[in-house]
């Protein structure tokens, strides 16, 4: 067997280095145009082969992937070197969804662009996994058109400590849905925008009916929720909310908050106009077993497969208990952001701008989007396409954005939501009074906020 001499080894090594040096250099991944034009003469024969770029995209797997793929068509046609790696994450609630994304990131999954909601922004920002989009927005030439077309509150909602982490795509807020048929059957006119809690109760009682005459109610006037989202409008319409603006102070010891919870509770157990326990909303509304409920723009899409047309129902502002019309409600928004671990932030930014373009957002009004939420762009949310797929008073949704409160979304939002549900579930099961539940929530939330602030300080 021939031995490799030192001289021969050096000859081979030198040749290998020389060959490697002659290989074409791959183009840089960045797609941002350089500040100055390069001075070298272009080589006509040289064919620029774009580098293959893979962008990891995290989406909520509550609808099939094909719905999401529909957003990328023209972007991929314009960027043939880009491929999207779809990363579905089960969406059973924003807290659990965010937990799974963070676990993916910690586990080393290559994620560039994520879709998430307002709830997740402070937590993900605090964990340092989202890129501050501010510097990108300052220099991007086409961003102003987008900013001008979006309600400032939606943009503001996706910031944390004055930094923009997501660009808004869609949003929802809770207004009162009512069945026109149920109104007609009860001989009631469409409710006025400035209706009161008393008016509402009257409507709910009139539309709670034992159709079969067997002593069991077949059709309920309303469905009463106890979640921070579903019962939130009762607090707002009573001139208060669950917590203060920066979520450092719970307001469950405010008599107005307790009164609002009590009102929602009494609709089930005292006034008997709302069912107890589980009662699928869409199915019962479609079947004529439910006259009113708190719904959002996304609810429209849920009603389509149940054969409920936009002429069959309408929406109204929430009834008031303050003596003034309530135009605001609880709202939330979702959007797209870039992860700090992105290997292609420039391309991810281009994708972000594509995802918030009119072309993609149009899916939200034509029923081809992954969700049925309202588009973030004003021109679409108040435009004719949205009107064609919405009930008569659809403009109330956008109008209410001016006055509402966002969902509870500090970094410890999951723990706060759990405290709310822990005690109100006991109240709703009649194992605790509303006052006791509110007092317990107040106490536990104060402790949780103190724990979080202490942890943040350390």
């Amino acid at each position: 067997m021939n031995r490799l001499s030192r001289r021969r080894f050096l000859e081979l090594f030198g040749s290998a280095v020389l060959l490697a040096a002659c290989q074409p250099t791959p183009a840089p991944a960045a797609t941002k145009a350089p500040d100055t034009a390069p001075e070298v003469e272009p080589v006509e024969e040289a064919e620029v082969v774009p580098v293959k770029v893979t962008l990891g995209f995290v989406y909520g797997a509550f609808t099939p992937q094909e719905k999401w793929e529909g957003y990328f068509g023209s972007f991929l046609a314009d960027h043939p070197n880009v491929e999207i790696k779809y990363i579905p994450v089960p969406l059973e609630g924003w807290g659990a969804y965010t937990e799974k994304i963070l676990t993916l990131l910690v586990g080393g999954e290559q994620v560039d662009v994520i879709w998430n909601a307002i709830e997740a922004v402070p937590l993900m920002a605090e964990k340092g996994v989202l890129v501050d989009l501010g510097p990108w927005m300052e220099v991007a030439p086409n961003v102003q058109e987008f900013v001008d077309d979006v309600h400032p509150k939606l943009l503001q909602g996706l910031t944390w400590k004055d930094k923009q982490y997501l660009l808004p795509f869609a949003w929802n807020n809770v207004l009162m849905f009512y069945s026109r048929q149920a109104l007609e059957d009860a001989g009631l006119p469409e409710p006025a925008p400035d209706w009161t809690w008393d008016d509402f109760l009257l409507y709910a009682k009139e539309m709670t009916v034992d159709k079969s005459g067997d002593g069991e109610i077949d059709s309920f006037g309303f469905q009463s929720s106890r979640s921070t989202w579903g019962a939130g409008p009762w607090t707002i319409s009573n001139g208060t909310f669950w917590m203060n603006e920066d979520f450092t102070e719970p307001w469950y010891d405010d008599p107005k908050t307790v009164q609002a919870i009590q009102f929602a509770y009494d609709l089930i157990w005292k006034d008997e106009v709302a069912p107890s326990g589980d009662f699928p909303t869409i199915e019962n509304f479609a079947a004529g077993n439910l006259a009113m409920f708190g719904g959002a723009p996304a609810t429209r899409e849920g009603l389509v497969p149940a054969d409920v047309s936009t002429d069959d129902y309408n929406i109204n502002f929430w009834p008031s208990n303050t003596g003034q019309a309530v135009k605001g409600s609880i709202w939330g928004t979702d959007g797209y952001g870039i992860t700090t671990g992105s290997k292609n932030p420039e391309m991810a930014w281009e994708l972000l701008m594509h995802l918030v373009s009119k072309e993609v957002m149009l899916n939200l009004v034509t029923g081809t989007a992954a969700s049925g939420s309202a588009p973030a762009r004003r021109s679409l949310a108040t435009g004719p396409e949205f009107a064609a797929h919405s009930p008569a008073n659809y403009l109330y949704w956008y109008e209410s954005l001016d006055h509402g409160r966002t969902v509870i979304n500090p970094p410890n939002f999951a723990a706060l939501g759990e405290i709310h549900n822990r005690y109100l579930s006991l109240a709703w099961a009649r194992e605790m009074t509303v006052e006791e539940a509110a007092a317990n929530i107040q106490q536990d939330m104060e402790a949780e906020i103190a724990r979080y602030l202490e942890e943040e300080a350390s």
């Binding site: 807290g95 107890s276 326990g277 410890n412 759990e418 099961a429």
Partner: protein
């Protein structure tokens, strides 16, 4: 083999004993590696994590026994221990008790096709995913529109808040667990029953033993090793209950059905308190170890080995 240079290549020699030892080590290497990677290292890491404060993203900070001190003062954790104990002892008693009774019943059936049919029927729910069975029960036990309540109302009873009241929620979870797992224990006991020699029964019959006497004097004593095994694995599994509760009630109403593993999961992946979650895991390990040791100690007195 002669080389080009003319030197002769000699096969390296190795002491046959060393050679045998190397081969042996190579054979066990895959098992040892998987044990280390998937069991030993995570176990030791988990143990270490219980003494640090770590949120996944920052550097772990040693906090000594702080996690355990906090755990001792945590009233939700105390509730989860109580709930888990209620579930574990109830589900174990029902699964093992019913499993044994059903197995004895099936074993006494003469027709083999009927035995096979019943055995399969009881075992099928066990092979279905826990999440799927929980979703099925969620549908069946809905308060307003559930099938179970529909028939209860038709029979003149009131609606039962199966999943929304503290009184019923844990019972519903135990019911689901028994429906799903009892088939597994039926199978274990059937295997145990088939190991009992037929001549013992024949001898008893010659002596004039009745059916009940044969069950209590032959079947049950000779089933005690199977019973002991079933109790051990049922209790260990029950203390780790998670999926059924997570899907069916999410720990509610209030904390009425929150279990130790659910709380551990929330702490680890909801609040990102990895150290605290590891401390909970360690306490759970100690609880399971304690009851297993107790069972082994007590087993010496009642388990009959032929």
């Amino acid at each position: 083999m002669p080389s080009v240079s003319g030197r002769v290549w000699k096969k390296p020699t190795m002491n046959p004993m060393v050679q045998e030892a190397v081969a042996g080590y190579l054979f066990v290497l895959p098992t040892v590696l998987s044990f280390l990677i998937f069991l030993a290292i995570p176990l030791v890491s988990g143990l270490g994590l219980a003494f640090v404060s770590w949120d996944f993203f920052s550097t772990p900070r040693f906090v000594g026994l702080n996690n355990f001190v906090a755990l001792s003062r945590d009233r939700i954790f105390a509730t989860t221990v109580r709930n888990t104990a209620v579930f574990a002892f109830s589900a174990t008693a029902l699964n093992v008790g019913l499993g044994m009774t059903i197995a004895i019943g099936i074993n006494s059936i003469k027709r083999s096709w009927a035995r096979s049919l019943l055995r399969s029927a009881y075992f099928v729910p066990f092979v279905v995913s826990g999440v799927v069975t929980a979703l099925l029960f969620q549908f069946l036990l809905q308060e307003s529109l559930g099938v179970v309540n529909y028939y209860l109302v038709r029979l003149g009873f009131g609606r039962v808040p199966w999943l929304t009241s503290s009184r019923w929620a844990m019972r519903s979870i135990i019911m689901l667990d028994v429906w799903r797992a009892v088939g597994f224990y039926v199978l274990i006991f059937l295997a145990g029953l088939q190991g009992i020699p037929a001549e013992l029964y024949e001898a008893a019959e010659v002596d004039g033993a009745k059916r009940w006497a044969k069950v209590t004097r032959i079947t049950l004593p000779l089933l005690t090793p199977t019973l002991f095994f079933s109790l051990i694995i049922a209790l260990i599994g029950a203390f780790q209950v998670f999926d059924a509760v997570y899907v069916l009630t999410d720990g509610g109403p209030g904390d009425a059905t929150r279990t130790i593993v659910m709380y551990l999961y929330r702490q680890a992946f909801g609040s990102y308190n990895m150290g605290y979650a590891a401390a909970i895991a360690l306490v759970l390990f100690i609880i399971i170890l304690f009851f297993t040791v107790i069972q082994f100690k007590m087993g010496d007195k009642w388990v009959f080995y032929r």
